[in-house]
Structures are given as structure tokens and as C-alpha cells.
């Protein structure tokens, strides 16, 4: 499998902070400012959500963001334009549902299938994909297209994923693995489940970075999770909450962007802090 170099590089210097936003939420320009604020705040990779009308894997926070983005006119082509125009210096991962990937070829007059979408994504500078409704069993066509264009395909490992299914994913994953911290859908929660630790242990032998997501909302949590062995943390709902609060209070775009940047700084700092603690633990262990 191809490995995307930009993503590999993002994990090279230690654990990565990976924020998520729905592209186009609440509109094209604001959304650009928000994504750029995340980069400014210290994101190592950014997951960009291309909104799909039936986001079955999302909690209500991100679902509402997707509704706003769709109402704001976001489409796959506008998404690619957005990515092209984006002024950030971190690798970008496209998070969307399979039907949009599958249909894109046909919307351009060709056959349905993932090739056209991946080709165009590569063109605009996307480095990889997360597709929440595409389990490994159905992923071969997309995996092949990613390989052809040097893009990563990230899979989500759930607390319930075990045995053969882990094998299936390990064979197909590249870039990083998205470790789902707890059962349920996306959404900011304050608890960090014991399942995270167990999941990380189950994946110990995998040679891709393990980024933990679902329910992370503070620098403290980020630090604890990274200290427990994660190679990265993924944060979505806690950031989308800031966007939503901005929309609801009709706050100026730059103020919301600044709040996002601040939150990103907190989470990035937490990530580094966790890395430092882990190194200290390792040093302790070494000296013991």
C-alpha cells in the first residue's frame, strides 16, 4: 500500500493533534477561516468533513453542522475548490460517506466508483480518507484508487472490533488508524473510557500510528490519552460546538476563528504534554 508522505511526516515528530470540522459550516468563507485557525492553533493534520445528507455515524453536534453546511450550499466540487484555496501547511484528510465518493465519477459523466473522486482529491491536495460507513470488507475499490494516487485510507477501530475484523483492517489501513474511544457516535464527552487503553493494547502490533477520537474535548483529556499510548488525538465535536455557538450567538467570524485557534492550542498543548509524560514514564520504566 501507498503511504502518504505528508501524513507520515505529521506523526514523525511525536503524537499528532488532529482536529475535524465540517467544510462549509456555516458557509464557505467562514469555514475557510475556521480551518485556517485550526492550523494556526497547532493542528498536525486536519480532517475535513465533506457533508453527506445522511450522516448515520455522527452525533447530533456534527449532524447539525452538516445540515448547516448543506444549507450553505456545500457540494463535492465546492469542497475540492475549498481545499484548493485553503492556505494551510498541514496534511488534509477528507472525511465523508461512501455514496458521495461512489457517485462522483457519474456526476462528471463517467461511471460510478471511487476513482474519479480520489483522483480529484489528490489533485487538490487531499492526503487521505476516513469513510465512516465503509468497513474494510467493502473498501477494496477505494483502497485501490488510493494506492494509485498515493493517498491514505484510515479505518476506524471500534471497541467492539476484534479477531478477523482487526486483520481485515490491518491489511488495508494506511496513514493512521482511528481508534474509537467508546461506543456510540461522535460527540464531546468528558469521560475517557478504559476501552481506549484496551483498544490501544489490542493494536500494539500495528505499524501505523493510532489516533484516538470520540469524546475528547479538553487539553487534559488529550494529555491523558496520549500519555496512555495514543499516537494522536482526533477532536471534532468540541470544535464544532464552538462553530455552533458562534452561529447561534451571531458572533463575528474572526472571533469564532480565534476561539477555535485557542481551543486548538489547548488541545495541541495537551497532546505535547501527554507525549512528555509518556516519555517520562518510559524513562522511569527504563530506570526501574
Amino acid at each position: 500500500m501507498a503511504e502518504n508522505e505528508a501524513i507520515a511526516a505529521a506523526f514523525a515528530d511525536g503524537p499528532a493533534f488532529i482536529p475535524y470540522l465540517a467544510v462549509g459550516d456555516p458557509d464557505y468563507e467562514a469555514s475557510k477561516a475556521y480551518v485556517e485557525a485550526l492550523a494556526r492553533g497547532g493542528a498536525d493534520i486536519i480532517e475535513l468533513g465533506l457533508p453527506f445528507s445522511e450522516p448515520i455515524a455522527e452525533g447530533s453536534t456534527i449532524q447539525n453542522a452538516i445540515v448547516r453546511a448543506l444549507e450553505g450550499g456545500m457540494t463535492p466540487d465546492r469542497f475540492f475548490e475549498f481545499v484548493e484555496e485553503l492556505d494551510v501547511d498541514v496534511p488534509l484528510v477528507c472525511m465523508t460517506y461512501y455514496n458521495l465518493i461512489y457517485q462522483y465519477g457519474r456526476s462528471r459523466g463517467g461511471e460510478p466508483g471511487p476513482e474519479a473522486f480520489v483522483e480529484r482529491a489528490a489533485e487538490v491536495g487531499i492526503s487521505g480518507f476516513v469513510v465512516p460507513d465503509l468497513p474494510a470488507e467493502e473498501a477494496d475499490p477505494l483502497r485501490a484508487a488510493c494506492d494509485e494516487h498515493g493517498l491514505d485510507l484510515v479505518f476506524i477501530v471500534a471497541p467492539t472490533t476484534e479477531g478477523d475484523r482487526l486483520e481485515e483492517m490491518m491489511e488495508r489501513v494506511s496513514g493512521y488508524v482511528y481508534v474509537q474511544a467508546r461506543l456510540g457516535t461522535t460527540g464531546a464527552k468528558t469521560d475517557v473510557s478504559d476501552q481506549t487503553t484496551r483498544s490501544l493494547q489490542r493494536l500494539a502490533e500495528w505499524d501505523v500510528p493510532k489516533a484516538v477520537g470520540f469524546g475528547i474535548s479538553s487539553g487534559d483529556q488529550a494529555a491523558r490519552i496520549v500519555a496512555n499510548g495514543a499516537d494522536g488525538i482526533i477532536v471534532g465535536s468540541a470544535l464544532v460546538d464552538i462553530v455552533a455557538a458562534g452561529v447561534n450567538s451571531e458572533r463575528p467570524v474572526d472571533e469564532t476563528a480565534e476561539k477555535l485557534a485557542a481551543k486548538a492550542r489547548e488541545l495541541a498543548a495537551g497532546t505535547r504534554e501527554g507525549a512528555a509524560r509518556r516519555n517520562a514514564d518510559i524513562a522511569d520504566a527504563d530506570s526501574a
Binding site: 453527506f52 468497513p135 461506543l183
Partner: protein, 408 residues
């Protein structure tokens, strides 16, 4: 888990283990009758559900259309529609699997009421997700679910209809998958649901085929069933699929038009078999009402039970194979079918079912010999909408509608 290229399991990873566990249970209990599961299921369908349902010759329609019209009376099943066949099967299966909780989504409320009944009957705690707008449109069904002891959770996201309720149920399942079974209401969703729901509903055509031999002395020339998600359709077709001489007609909701409004993201119909394109929705690859880039369209039908942008993958496959003929009739024709059956046979059909009779009214000249129409449900739930929708249109066989408003 595939029907040609259709079907599959396009679901979040967290659900995959549950789906694999379900697939295993499906194979053992449903396909192999382990622990006598199918025997118990069939016995409960008979005693609790009221099976077999009759295959009734519709004398007056037969005369009117110069055909031998037979009605498969699923409207007589407990709850008033074919939905119980599936709900009872899945709730019982959940019990065999050791699950201790049931969840389901519902749009018009028919699947929800069937699930709530089955859950009460089998003593399983049950939560039903239902869009807030649907709750307001279908209060009697909400009352029924609650009276049966189910917890009905209003879904306020989006437009508050079936789509949002499905997403919310998926969310609940994703969080509770170890203890909970999600009772999907049609032959849709990831494998094994389409196959399993078909197998539970196949009792319709199993009986109908046997009854046809008794009453017609052989196979019918055609079988007609309305198609939304397609569970009554596949139930009515399943045992006739291998009988090449039997024509199978899936009647979709043509709504107000088969044309789509791409700009507004609206398909003013629910005719995914007739007009949809291949895509992935709610766990399966199938035919969908979608815009050119793959966003799911808002579908429309006077019948809320047909109002869905997807369709069962097996039906999509059978259409591609030319085994099933997809046809569509519009809202007006459905209302005409509604009044025709009510007036002529003394059976008030569900608006879903009325589409099959609208097709018969419009196209009976193209048919010949004997026809079985699946009366998938009764119309008690639809009285108000049928009257309102009829009043708003010119339906040739409508009764004098003034009598529904004036003086009473």
C-alpha cells in the same frame, strides 16, 4: 450478503460486530431452525398474529376488470399490516440471541406499532425513535406504541421524519450494540437484514402460493404489491421468483411526478426502482433517489409508508434481472385505488396498499388471467389523510366529500 452488486454492509465499524453476530444468528436460527426457532416463530405468527391470512377472491373487482382478482389479506394480520411478520421474527430472534432490549425507528408508525406489540408480547423493553413531525402526524400510532409499553423517543433533528429517526436509531445502536437489537422495518439496511426480513415476510407468498393452488388450481399469472422499502413486496414475491410464468409487479409511489427537482434536492415521488440510481444508503448498495453528486433526495408520497428514498437491494437486483417489473402510479391514482377497494369490496386499504389498486385500476387491460394483489395493510390509520388528500383533488370515484365535513 449480496444480490448481484447490491446489498453489502456499509455501516460504521462499531456496528459491524453486531451485524456479524446477527448474521450468525440468522444462519443458525432462521436458516437452520436451531432450537426450533422457526417453529416457535411460525406458531406465534399463527396464534398471536392470526396467520394464515386469507387469499380472497374479489368478486366485484374481478367482474369490473374482467380478471380473476385475488386479495392476499395481510390487512387482517394483528396490528393491521404485514409489518408484524418481521417485527415478531426479529424480536423473537433478539430473545434467542440473549439481547435484553429492542430499538426501532418508525416513519408512519406501522413498523413501530408492530414492534411495540411484539415486544409487549415477548416481554422485551423497547424504544422507538420517531421524527417529531411524524409523531404529530401519526398520533394514534404513537398512542398505540405507548399503550403497549414502548418508550417513544421524539427525534427533533432535521425535518423530524423517517430519515432522521433512522440516523438516531443507528446512534442508539452504536452506543448499546452489545445488549440491544435494532429491529429494522424493511428489507433494507446492511446484510443480513434484507435477506432476513425477506425470509420473515416470505410467509406471505408461501401461503399465497399454496392458496393459489387450492383456489385457482395453479399459479397466478401476476402478483402485484406496492413497494416502498419493499418488505411486503419481497414477502409477496419471494416464493414466486422461481416461477417464471408469474409476472411480478412492484408498484411504487409516483407521487405528483416522476421528474426530480435537482435544485431543491426533492424527488416528488418515492419511485427508486423506476427512476433511482445505484448508490449506498443506510448500510446497503441499492437504487436510490439521489442528486447527481450523491446527496439523498427528499422523497414524497401521500403514503408516508412508501415515502423513502431507497429500496431493498434484492428488489433492485430483481429489477435489473428483469424478474420484477417496476411500475409507478401517482398520488391521484393511489387515491382512486383507495376508494375503489373501499367501495367495491368493503376493504379500506392503507394508502401504501392503495397504490397497488391504483395500478390495477389504470392498467388492468394490460393484465390477463389471474392476479394476486397483496393487501399489505388496512387504512384505518390513513382515514384523515385520505379524506384531506381526496378533497384537494379531482378523483373520479371519490365519494361526495362534503359529507365528511358538513354537519357532522
Amino acid at each position: 450478503g449480496k444480490f448481484g452488486d447490491y446489498g453489502g454492509q456499509y455501516v460504521p465499524e462499531a456496528l459491524m460486530p453486531a451485524i456479524e453476530e446477527l448474521d450468525d444468528a440468522y444462519q443458525r436460527y432462521v436458516l437452520d431452525n436451531e432450537d426450533g426457532f422457526m417453529d416457535e416463530f411460525r406458531q406465534r405468527l399463527a396464534d398471536f398474529g392470526g396467520r394464515p391470512t386469507p387469499l380472497q377472491r374479489a368478486d366485484r373487482l374481478s367482474e369490473r376488470y374482467d380478471l380473476d382478482v385475488y386479495l392476499k389479506r395481510e390487512d387482517l394480520l394483528h396490528g393491521g399490516a404485514h409489518k408484524l411478520n418481521n417485527a415478531l421474527g426479529q424480536v423473537l430472534l433478539a430473545k434467542y440471541m440473549g439481547k435484553d432490549r429492542i430499538i426501532a425507528e418508525t416513519g408512519a408508525g406501522q413498523h413501530g406499532t408492530a414492534t411495540a406489540m411484539a415486544a409487549a408480547h415477548l416481554d422485551m423493553p423497547c424504544t422507538i425513535y420517531m421524527g417529531e413531525r411524524d409523531i404529530n402526524r401519526q398520533r394514534p400510532n404513537v398512542f398505540r406504541m405507548k399503550l403497549n409499553g414502548s418508550d417513544v423517543k421524539p427525534v427533533t433533528a432535521g425535518r423530524g421524519t423517517l430519515k432522521e429517526a433512522i440516523s438516531e436509531t443507528m446512534r442508539d445502536w452504536a452506543a448499546t450494540v452489545e445488549s440491544t437489537h435494532y429491529v429494522i422495518g424493511s428489507v433494507v439496511g446492511p446484510h443480513p437484514f434484507p435477506a432476513m426480513v425477506r425470509d420473515f415476510q416470505a410467509v406471505i407468498s408461501e401461503e399465497a402460493r399454496e392458496q393459489a393452488h387450492e383456489k385457482l388450481g395453479g399459479l397466478p399469472d401476476s402478483v402485484i404489491a406496492c413497494a416502498g422499502g419493499g418488505s411486503n413486496t419481497m414477502g409477496a414475491f419471494a416464493n414466486f421468483v422461481d416461477d417464471d410464468s408469474v409476472d411480478l409487479y412492484a408498484v411504487e409511489a409516483g407521487g405528483s411526478s416522476l421528474a426530480v427537482d435537482e435544485e431543491a434536492g426533492v424527488a416528488p415521488n418515492s419511485a427508486s426502482l423506476s427512476t433511482g440510481d445505484e448508490g449506498v444508503l443506510h448500510g446497503a448498495r441499492t437504487k436510490l433517489l439521489q442528486d447527481s453528486v450523491g446527496q439523498i433526495m427528499e422523497s414524497h408520497s401521500i403514503s408516508s409508508g412508501l415515502d423513502y428514498a431507497g429500496v431493498g437491494p434484492e428488489l433492485a437486483y430483481l429489477v435489473d434481472e428483469d424478474r420484477v417489473t417496476p411500475v409507478a402510479v401517482d398520488d391521484d391514482a393511489a387515491l382512486e385505488g383507495f376508494h375503489r377497494l373501499s367501495q367495491t369490496e368493503g376493504i379500506i386499504p392503507a394508502l401504501e396498499t392503495a397504490h397497488a389498486f391504483g395500478y390495477l385500476e389504470e392498467h388492468h387491460a394490460e393484465l390477463s388471467g389471474s392476479v394476486i394483489v397483496n393487501v399489505s395493510g388496512r387504512g384505518d390509520k390513513d382515514l384523515q389523510s385520505a379524506i384531506e388528500e381526496t378533497e384537494a383533488r379531482e378523483i373520479p370515484n371519490a365519494p361526495d366529500m362534503s359529507m365528511f365535513s358538513e354537519g357532522i
